[in-house]
């Protein structure tokens, strides 16, 4: 298998799906010149009709993608997590609700790819990790690939899905490299967690960039003789509850690492699920290691204090180990 980086995995998935299906188009800002790397070569191969540079009108072009999907196209929209807010009416009132409120008459095969920057001095308006908002909105599929293999396989599944899929591309994951199949029908299914490391002492569920922290913490803890099982859910909707509950049944302990703000986060939801359905397996209280409930400050002296780190994960595991 060739080794490629995360962005190139997304680019390869996009180009392969556009080759396979002439109804797949891409839309977004600065795509034709591939300012962010994942649309390199697309306009040369597929032409301007299928590679659309949009005006800065998120509410407008998010909605246009939805409307186009009702009439035979399969749009891939590229954006930034913080710009979801600008187009939120279309995301919540239309993308999430149309199929249900029209009794199943509407089918909306749209992928929204959102670059998720944070921890790099971008301050409050460009550091949103907002997948939890969409996770709590019925009707959407929420995908967080954390390595090139999953980026490609989940992206291709999203393009072939008939539902609205949101892909959150964590800045920590997007610098990763790894082996990725070049089979044009390689897919990673939704709702199947990936167990990255097995261990009997404590389960660590990592979400998005939290997976990297979890792995680093597990490596360090193994030196001390504490064996952690690290689980990457890969998709938050649908969520592989079974994999998490089965792991907790083996380990009796759970730490959840989530770069989103702690209140009503994916981490708090997973903790609630395990408290409700896995209570009798637990030997210690669940700990969530999420971002502090504060806006993202600019100063390099303050910003790192907000997010989860491997050290915070290590401290949490030590605490549940007692």
């Amino acid at each position: 298998m060739p080794e490629i980086n995360y962005i190139n995995a997304l680019a390869a998935a996009t180009a392969e799906e556009m080759r396979r299906d002439p109804t797949v188009i891409v839309m977004g800002e600065d795509l034709r010149l591939s300012v962010y790397g994942a649309s390199a070569g697309l306009v040369e191969e597929f032409g301007e009709d299928r590679v659309i540079d949009t005006p800065l009108s998120e509410n407008g072009f998010f909605g246009a993608a939805l409307g186009a999907s009702l009439c035979g196209l399969r749009p891939i929209v590229e954006t930034v997590t913080s710009f979801f807010w600008v187009g939120m009416d279309q995301m919540i009132s239309q993308a999430a609700k149309m199929r249900y409120m029209f009794g199943g008459q509407a089918t909306l095969p749209v992928v929204f790819r959102a670059r998720m920057f944070y921890a790099r001095g971008a301050a409050a308006h460009h550091s949103d990790r907002n997948y939890n908002i969409f996770m709590s909105t019925p009707g959407l599929k929420v995908i967080c690939p954390t390595n090139p293999y999953d980026a490609k396989g989940l992206m291709k599944s999203a393009v072939r899905s008939n539902d609205v899929c949101l892909i959150f591309e964590d800045g920590i994951a997007s610098s990763s490299r790894g082996e990725v199949p070049d089979d044009p029908d390689f897919l990673v299914p939704f709702g199947v967690a990936n167990t990255l490391r097995t261990g009997g002492d404590c389960t660590i569920v990592g979400i998005a960039g939290g997976v990297d922290h979890a792995m680093k913490a597990a490596d360090q803890l193994a030196i001390e003789g504490i064996e952690c099982e690290v689980i990457d859910p890969r998709t938050l909707v649908p969520l592989d509850e079974v994999a998490i509950l089965e792991s907790v049944e083996r380990t009796g302990r759970l730490v959840v690492v989530d770069p989103a703000h702690t209140t009503c986060s994916a981490a708090s939801e997973i903790a609630a699920i395990v408290a409700r359905k896995g209570f009798w397996s637990l030997q210690a209280p669940i700990i969530t290691v999420a971002s502090a409930q504060v806006n993202i400050p600019y100063s390099p002296a303050l910003e790192p204090l907000v997010y989860p780190t491997p050290d915070k994960v290590i401290a949490a595991v030590r605490e549940v180990m007692g």
Partner: protein, 326 residues
């Protein structure tokens, strides 16, 4: 150009269907049979019917919160519409949408939206699909004078013109966004005056006259189908009823005078169309009466059908969330 005689008859039939449908809605709402808000289209029938008469079945339309008239004008069946209002399984949306989401996708409807202007980008996207897929359907979106001030509307007009999409932006200017006059919320004299800023034609037309609406929309449709891009059509109309059933408080707010309402109601779109048919020897008095009676009977049947249709079973609650896994 005047539509041919059968088309003129059909337009009258659909206007009557909308009128009697809405009268029935008001009746069953006050009796407590219809729950939730409902926004009557009475007084604006010529806009939906005139516009849809210029469209083909495969052309798409998108509506708004005041949209009982749009699916009927596009040819949707009134039984499915009435059953939807009663929350029954035989409704267009199996009882999940109700008054503000009264969509019949089988006749080219892209949905109705309870959020003002929210369906304007959706209809623009339908135009994008027609262009990219090289199909010759057009997309028409109905929105109000209030919606014309939403960013979604401006963004959509810019994109549609930039990309030369086959879209007709049809503003139903009924002059009030709930209680706020467009004269107090729109920065130009007419909504259509904004069209040149987007590089598209804009026309203001008498929205009480279905034939006039049909003529203007036909031009816009021809332009769209020829690949020449979008148009903005503003139909001046008037809502004969208050904003919404069930919002009795608004009735007590003096946002428009009794004289103004009485004056507007003198220009009833059904009367205007009937008079045009009689004057042009397009229909006799007896034929007009027959159309009206048949429409009344069809609405009565629809109400009976809706009443007899079952409510959805509890299992339906979680159905229709996702396409891929149920």
């Amino acid at each position: 150009m005047l539509p041919d005689n059968p088309a003129m008859h059909e337009m009258y039939r659909r206007m009557c269907l909308i009128r009697y449908f809405e009268e029935t809605v008001i009746e069953i709402h006050s009796a407590g049979e219809l729950i939730g808000p409902a926004h009557p289209y009475i007084g604006e029938e010529a806009v939906a019917v005139g516009a849809c008469a210029a469209l083909r079945n495969e052309d798409r339309i998108a509506g708004n919160h005041r949209s009982h008239g749009h699916p009927i004008a596009k040819g949707g069946n009134v039984k499915g519409a009435m059953a939807e209002l009663l929350g029954k399984v035989d409704g267009f949306c199996k009882g999940k949408g109700g008054s503000m989401h009264l969509a019949d996708f089988s006749v080219g409807i892209l949905g109705e939206s309870g959020i003002v202007a929210s369906s304007v980008p959706i209809a623009t996207g339908a135009g994008l699909a027609a262009k990219v897929l090289k199909k010759d359907f057009v997309s028409l979106v109905f929105f109000g004078d209030g919606a014309s001030n939403q960013g979604a509307c401006h963004e959509s007009m810019n994109m549609a013109s930039l990309w030369k999409l086959p879209v007709i932006f049809l503003c139903e200017n009924n002059q009030y966004a709930i209680t706020t006059s467009y004269k107090n919320s729109v920065s130009v004299d007419n909504v259509a005056d904004r069209a040149p800023a987007y590089g598209m034609p804009g026309v203001t037309v008498d929205g009480q006259d279905a034939v006039a609406v049909h003529e203007v929309v036909s031009h816009a449709v021809a332009r769209a189908r020829a690949g020449d891009g979008p148009s903005l059509v503003e139909c001046m109309t008037y809502r004969f009823e208050d904003h919404s059933l069930g919002l009795d408080r608004i009735r007590k707010v003096a946002y428009r005078s009794d004289e103004e309402v009485a004056e507007a109601m003198k220009r009833d779109p059904l009367d205007i169309h009937r008079a045009a048919m009689l004057k042009g020897d397009i229909a006799t008095e007896a034929e007009c009466d027959e159309i009206e009676n048949a429409a009344r009977a069809e609405i009565a049947d629809a109400l009976e059908f809706a009443r007899n249709s079952p409510y959805p079973e509890p299992e339906a609650l979680f159905e229709d969330m996702y396409a891929d896994d149920g």
